[in-house]
């Protein structure tokens, strides 16, 4: 597929652009600035749409395509808006044998989105993780910085998700 246009999702006068500009110019050297600038931009905007790539390119001199190459190389960068809460379900070996697939299936069923997608209300983005590094607690799910351990009983999951719905309200 080849695109011919793209929609802006961030206004030109968004104050976060100024923050990003001062961040970029606080670095004396432009060498290796691409990755750092993209990280800061993702912190500020939550994702990296074309207009942010164009802004960084203009400020750093790094071509848009090269920045996009970095963005699409690292799975930590997103080009689409992310949900307010990041769900990560560990699919590492230990979690997997202890039933991670059931956990994932339950979350998919509850939220109605597949892995890598964001719920229509922009509340949750669902991701499968390689290993969260706490195999003793398998199967494990993380929502933002909260760890949910030993999720043998998947029927608990809707209630866990509901807490974040309430928090947001």
């Amino acid at each position: 597929m080849t695109r011919t246009s793209h929609c802006k999702t961030i206004a030109d006068n968004d104050p976060r652009y100024e923050e990003l500009r001062s961040f970029i110019h606080s670095h004396e050297s432009k060498d290796g600035i691409a990755m750092t600038a993209l990280q800061e931009a993702q912190n500020l905007f939550g994702y990296l749409p074309l207009e942010v790539h164009k802004f960084i390119s203009k400020e750093t001199g790094v071509p848009i395509a090269e920045l996009y190459g970095v963005t699409t190389f690292y799975s930590q960068f997103n080009t689409e808006p992310q949900g307010q809460h990041q769900i990560q379900i560990c699919m590492g070996t230990a979690c997997y044998v202890k039933g991670a697939q059931k956990v994932l299936d339950k979350v998919v069923e509850t939220l109605g989105v597949e892995v890598g997608m964001t719920t229509p209300d922009q509340l949750f983005t669902l991701n499968a993780a390689r290993c969260l590094g706490c195999c003793g607690l398998a199967p494990v799910m993380m929502i933002d910085d909260d760890v949910y351990a030993n999720l043998d009983n998947v029927s608990e999951i809707p209630a866990i998700l509901d807490r974040y719905r309430k928090d947001t309200k």
């Binding site: 597929m1 929609c7 074309l50 790094v62 848009i64 190459g69 190389f73």
Partner: protein, 601 residues
């Protein structure tokens, strides 16, 4: 440095060879007649050890290096022992070729690079007789939206030569490796078409591509249709640089001038009239030198910058719109020629201009986009209907079954067929400037000056400066000029002018490094040939030698041009000239987006 003074001795395939510190094994092997296969390596541009075809068995100080190192990035060391023809190396090369082919479309017989493809050649040479790996191939993108360049990911081998060329030579970075692992694809950002990004269509990426993943958009069949149509009068014009490269399509050494054979071939193909864009190059000088003198004497915008190179124009429109008033308003020779063919020539020959189809043969892929620019028409008639590359002309000659070797030299048709030596050198960096200086100096002094070769603007340096003293209004005045090739260098020059670090009257810019002789439409020169030859030098020589062979070597002395001015234009820069020969420019956005809040998807 002579062989004797080289400081290091290495052994490749049992031959003792002298080498300089800093040389790579691949370089030493190549100049010693030992072929090491390579695909991603492009001298001075892309040295990234990605394709793993240049591998060898290597020992240093009697110790075997681990695995098979890539010789393109392996610096020589004293006493190094290299073996390129062992069972392990042969097996690895074949295996790696198979892996590359496993993700390649392999439609060789119907591919435009059949015969010039570096991958195809290596597969044959290295004895790959089948590919054992089936399975999934990468998702395919074929971007055919641009008028100049087609990007076809089904043929891409991810060597990165285009990526490095666009970034290092042109400073643009249109293409990059996007995504990751199996899904890696070379392309612009956010899946944009090359039509809608910062691409200037120079085609240097096509010249760099070892396969047909990047290729020109071809219009050969449209031209055949026009030739076959009895109601059409098909008129062809050939740019100066084409004659210096077309021979390569038929196996002649790089830079063999084939002007006469080319003209004969065009007649055999069936074009009704054969002209040389050189005529319009002389016309351009007449218009542009007049425009320059007018700007200087009336306080117009300076420095004036040449406008012959459509890649440069796109670049200026995209990156330096503040310099658009500095661009000469002259159309390029391609379009001047088209406009004159459909007006003056049609009138003289009593041909209905509506029936005329103008085909241009160009060393350039960007000319295709110039031809379709909205403003490049007069009274509803397109200046140029189809623009083909040197390579496409080579293919047309072959399709017509013409034996190029045995063709006798012929001359272009009259009315618009004369040209001077000044026009021929338009095809190389500095050529437009030199041609302009030859005419400007004569016009200002009112003499036919005997000394008119301006060595300072010749040569392959990216940025050249010169000055010439001419009488302006009776006062000897220093006319300062700058010549640059590649848009990267053009950008540097403009930055210097903007900052006030550089002041001059006239700047020549050609978008390709070395000028049109190294344009993106010229015959392919493989990465192996590029290791020992700079194709630009031989091609530039071809043009300078043709210049020397001309009796008339100053544009304003072209007899048919004098007649054109006399009978049609009235004078250079006249109202008639402006109607047919001049144009305008506008800032050009890239990666365009709908504004925030205007989106519905």
């Amino acid at each position: 440095m002579s062989e004797e003074t080289k400081k290091i001795t290495i052994t490749i395939n049992d031959r003792e060879l002298k080498a300089d510190p800093g040389e790579t094994v691949l370089q030493v092997a190549h100049r010693s007649g030992i072929n090491i296969p390579h695909l991603c390596y492009l001298k001075d541009i892309n040295e990234i050890a990605a394709c793993r075809l240049c591998v060898a068995e290597v020992e240093v100080n009697g110790r075997r290096m681990r695995g098979l190192p890539a010789t393109c990035v392996l610096k020589v060391e004293d006493g190094m022992v290299v073996r390129t023809n062992t069972k392990a190396v042969r097996k690895a090369v074949r295996f790696n070729l198979e892996l590359i082919l496993a993700n390649h479309d392999m439609n060789c017989p119907t591919c435009v690079r059949n015969g010039t493809c570096e991958l195809q050649k290596l597969a044959r040479e290295r004895g790959v007789e089948g590919v054992r790996f089936g399975g999934i191939k990468r998702a395919v993108t074929i971007d055919e939206l641009s008028p100049s360049i087609v990007r076809d990911s089904s043929k891409c081998i991810l060597c990165g030569r285009c990526v490095s060329t666009c970034e290092k030579i042109q400073g643009l970075g249109v293409l990059a490796f996007t995504n990751r692992g199996f899904n890696t694809e070379v392309g612009p950002a956010f899946d944009f078409s090359m039509r809608d990004v910062n691409c200037i269509y120079c085609g240097q990426c096509i010249e760099a591509c070892p396969v047909a993943a990047l290729r020109e958009r071809r219009y050969i069949d449209d031209v055949w249709d026009a030739i076959d149509d009895p109601d059409k009068v098909v008129v062809v014009q050939t740019a100066p640089a084409v004659r210096a490269s077309l021979g390569e399509e038929f196996g002649y050494p790089i830079g063999t001038p084939v002007t006469g054979k080319m003209t004969a071939a065009l007649r055999h193909i069936g074009f009704d009239y054969v002209f040389d864009t050189n005529f319009a190059a002389d016309l351009t000088i007449s218009e542009e030198a007049t425009e320059l003198l007018h700007r200087i004497t009336t306080g117009g915008v300076l420095p004036m910058i040449t406008s012959c190179s459509p890649g440069w124009i796109r670049y200026c429109e995209m990156y330096h719109p503040d310099f658009l008033p500095n661009l000469s308003t002259c159309k390029s020779p391609q379009n001047m020629m088209g406009a004159i063919i459909k007006s003056y020539f049609a009138d003289v020959m009593d041909i209905d201009p509506e029936t005329i189809v103008v085909v241009s043969i160009m060393p350039c892929t960007s000319k295709k986009s110039e031809a379709i620019r909205e403003e490049m028409e007069v009274d509803g008639l397109r200046d140029v209907d189809y623009s083909l590359t040197t390579r496409e002309l080579g293919d047309m000659i072959k399709q017509a079954g013409i034996d190029f070797d045995t063709l006798e030299d012929e001359h272009p048709d009259s009315v618009l067929g004369d040209y001077t030596g000044a026009a021929v050198i338009f095809g190389t960096t500095g050529g437009v400037m030199e041609a302009a200086l030859r005419t400007a100096a004569d016009v200002l002094t009112g003499e036919d000056l005997p000394s008119f070769e301006y060595e300072a603007v010749r040569g392959m340096e990216g940025i050249k400066q010169a000055s010439v003293t001419v009488p302006l209004g009776g006062v000897p005045t220093e006319l300062k000029v700058v010549v640059c090739s590649s848009v990267k260098h053009a950008g540097e020059v403009l930055d210097a002018v903007r900052k006030g670090e550089l002041s001059c009257h006239f700047i020549e810019v050609m978008a390709c490094p070395g000028g049109c002789i190294h344009g993106g439409g010229q015959s392919y020169v493989s990465s192996t040939e590029r290791m020992s030859t700079d194709p630009r030098l031989a091609r530039a020589d071809a043009l300078y030698s043709e210049d020397e062979r001309q009796v008339l070597r100053k544009s304003h002395q072209n007899p048919e041009l004098i007649e054109l001015i006399d009978k049609f234009l009235g004078a250079p820069n006249s109202d008639v000239a402006h109607k047919y020969l001049h144009t305008h420019y506008a800032p050009r956005p890239f990666y365009a987006q709908k504004e925030f809040g205007e989106c519905d998807d």
